[in-house]
């Protein structure tokens, strides 16, 4: 009898892939570049999620919040537009341009709206008596649409930026959204291999809120703790997957609580107690305080994340580096990716290329008012 193989040798070995870059001087780069980088890591995903975060793409509407909306049905569209008209001045609204391709089956409907909040009674109440800012009011509306309107999801809601994501390989999603027609000074991209949660259009990365966007490789096993903590501050998790909490957590820590990006990263991936015990007293006090106050913000489990805003791009690993992250510099550009080759594909000769330590954020902020 012929010996039987012990393994299925054709098995695909996959995991998520991410890549991103920033021009610190604000030079705008066309979408083709990020597509080339993420496409090199095609085999890190399995076709169940691809997406892009793009900054500086709407300079003509940069004073307006750019709402990218995804609709699963006509009723969701109608209810959302009634909601937006009641609460916002809509400077411009249009379909997000797409291209029908064979690789993308049954896409939902995508529209975008460039808006500012209307001074309704509710708005005046929020500003004058609840101390809310415009950003707080936008967050409240995003949560309301995602939570209350069945089949409507806010894909992104920041100024001069947008997220483009869905079910497919990232290069197919890029083709679907005609991404080569956009130019931006910060780009991130994600190739998804969903493990614990469904591969659906809202579950693709990036996850966003205001101009925060997160792409993530790994799994956040502290999701339940993080989610319950965020709910106390009015953030509602509706996207059925773990990464969503990172976007809201950074909004809470940086925008609401005023932590620096460095300290916010420390809250997400703090040093172990055994290491804190060895530090000089001022650092020991700082890290002890962060861990005591933000114990529920700690992200447990393996992760590499890139988070972007209009101000810059930050890369962060879990404390024991269970997912890959490589960074590089060339002129005013900073690159971050799951694999060195994904950087080399778009920057063949970086002046510096390195692997950051676990828990050590790589922070690349844009210079001045880009």
């Amino acid at each position: 009898m012929k010996p039987q193989p012990t393994h299925i040798f054709q098995k695909d070995i996959s995991n998520c892939g991410l890549t991103g870059f920033v021009s610190k001087k604000g030079q705008r780069v066309e979408g083709a570049v990020i597509i080339k980088s993420i496409s090199l890591m095609h085999d890190r995903g399995n076709g169940l999620g691809g997406g892009f975060g793009a900054y500086g793409i709407y300079p003509e509407f940069k004073e307006f919040y750019a709402f990218h909306l995804m609709y699963e049905n006509a009723m969701a569209l109608q209810l959302t537009e009634e909601y937006l008209e009641a609460n916002f001045h809509i400077e411009q609204q249009e379909d997000i341009p797409t291209r029908r391709i064979r690789a993308i089956a049954n896409p939902p409907v995508f529209k975008r709206y460039f808006v500012t909040p209307l001074e309704t009674d509710e708005y005046r109440e929020a500003v004058e008596y609840q101390g809310m800012t415009d950003s707080d009011i936008i967050v409240r509306h995003v949560m309301a649409v995602n939570h209350e309107i069945d089949g409507a999801f806010v894909v992104s809601s920041g100024k001069n930026m947008g997220a483009f994501k869905g079910v497919g390989f990232p290069e197919d999603i890029a083709e679907f959204f005609r991404l080569e027609e956009y130019s931006g000074h910060i780009w991130t991209a994600h190739n998804r291999f969903p493990t614990n949660t469904p591969g659906w259009w809202g579950g693709a990365h990036p996850f966003t809120l205001l101009d925060w966007s997160i792409v993530h490789n790994g799994e956040i096993s502290s999701y339940g703790i993080n989610k319950r903590y965020l709910e106390m501050y009015g953030y509602l998790c509706t996207m059925l997957t773990d990464t969503e909490v990172v976007a809201y957590m950074l909004d809470l820590l940086i925008r609401k609580h005023g932590l620096s990006p460095e300290l916010a990263c420390t809250a997400l991936a703090p040093p172990f107690w055994s290491l804190i015990d060895q530090l000089p007293s001022n650092e020991r006090e700082l890290y002890t305080a962060i861990r005591q106050v933000y114990g529920s913000a700690l992200l447990n489990g393996p992760f590499a994340i890139l988070f972007a805003s209009n101000k810059g791009l930050i890369g962060l690993n879990d404390r024991v580096k269970l997912r890959p992250l490589v960074c590089a510099e060339k002129d005013d550009f900073v690159y971050m990716a799951s694999e060195e080759s994904a950087i080399r594909e778009i920057c063949p000769a970086p002046s510096r290329i390195w692997a950051p330590r676990g828990g050590e954020p790589v922070i690349a902020m844009v210079e001045g008012n880009v």
């Binding site: 085999d43 580096k321 694999e339 060195e340 080759s341 390195w354 676990g358």
Partner: protein, 248 residues
């Protein structure tokens, strides 16, 4: 034989390499490699594969007797369960280097990532040797069961970085680690201790260093003039009592 790997999908590239090896080619040079996975995996003939560019993950996995020379940097998971042969990387290498390696040599010119030499093992004449010329991340020699790990800390792109990370030798229960210029004992895992080299260690170490220096065209005397220490496990069963006391 030269192959231009520019834009070639990893499966096609590896099929071409395997066909060439099958046909009896003993020298293969790959140009414009960028990110192709699994190069040299499972090759069990003494061929030499030279790589120009950055090869993808899982380079030389299950390799059994071939030589791979990477002229630039390499990525993660090099030499997974490698049985025999040699991998030389002139630049830096990533995480999980030499995972479960059970024979042969991995020589890296510059820095290496996290979990280098994780669960290396040895048996009778099979004794893997992994040398890193630069600095290393955390978990160096994690769960190491056998073989030889050598950290030089000499050739790095980041002079400000520490020679090695935290949790050095976590779970180590076999084999030996030699470190040029000593270790930071506050970063050692509780399972390991630091010892001075004896005469037989010196002979063995010198042999490996001379081979490494010949491959990288370095002066072995310069490398060997610094004091080396060896790190050994304190126990062959570090977790024997983790869940319940083992019967004697």
């Amino acid at each position: 034989m030269k192959i231009d790997a520019q834009g070639i999908y990893y499966r096609d590239l590896n099929n071409t390499i395997r066909e060439a090896v099958q046909a009896g080619t003993d020298e293969i040079e790959l140009d414009n490699v960028n990110g192709q996975y699994f190069i040299g995996d499972g090759i069990n003939k003494p061929v030499t594969i030279t790589i120009n560019g950055v090869p993808g993950n899982d380079l030389g996995a299950f390799m059994n007797g071939a030589t791979i020379i990477v002229n630039e940097n390499a990525q993660d998971n090099i030499g997974n369960t490698m049985n025999a042969g040699k991998i030389i990387v002139h630049g830096h290498a990533g995480d999980v280097l030499g995972y479960g390696m059970r024979g042969g040599r991995i020589f890296i010119g510059k820095d290496v990532g996290y979990r280098v030499g994780i669960h290396m093992k040895s048996y009778q004449e099979y004794k893997p040797v992994l040398i890193a010329g630069g600095k290393a991340g955390d978990f160096f020699g994690e769960y190491m069961a056998g073989g030889v790990l050598i950290l030089l800390g000499m050739f790095t792109d980041d002079p400000a970085k520490d020679k090695h990370g935290y949790l050095f030798g976590t779970g180590m229960h076999g084999g030996v680690i030699y470190v040029r210029g000593g270790v930071d004992e506050s970063r050692l895992a509780k399972e390991v201790g630091v010892f001075e080299l004896d005469d037989s260690d010196r002979v063995e170490l010198e042999g490996y260093i001379r081979e490494y220096c010949a491959d990288f065209k370095l002066d072995a005397a310069e490398v060997l003039k610094e004091h080396f220490v060896k790190v050994l496990p304190r126990s062959k069963r570090p977790y024997g009592n983790m869940y319940c006391t083992m019967p004697k």
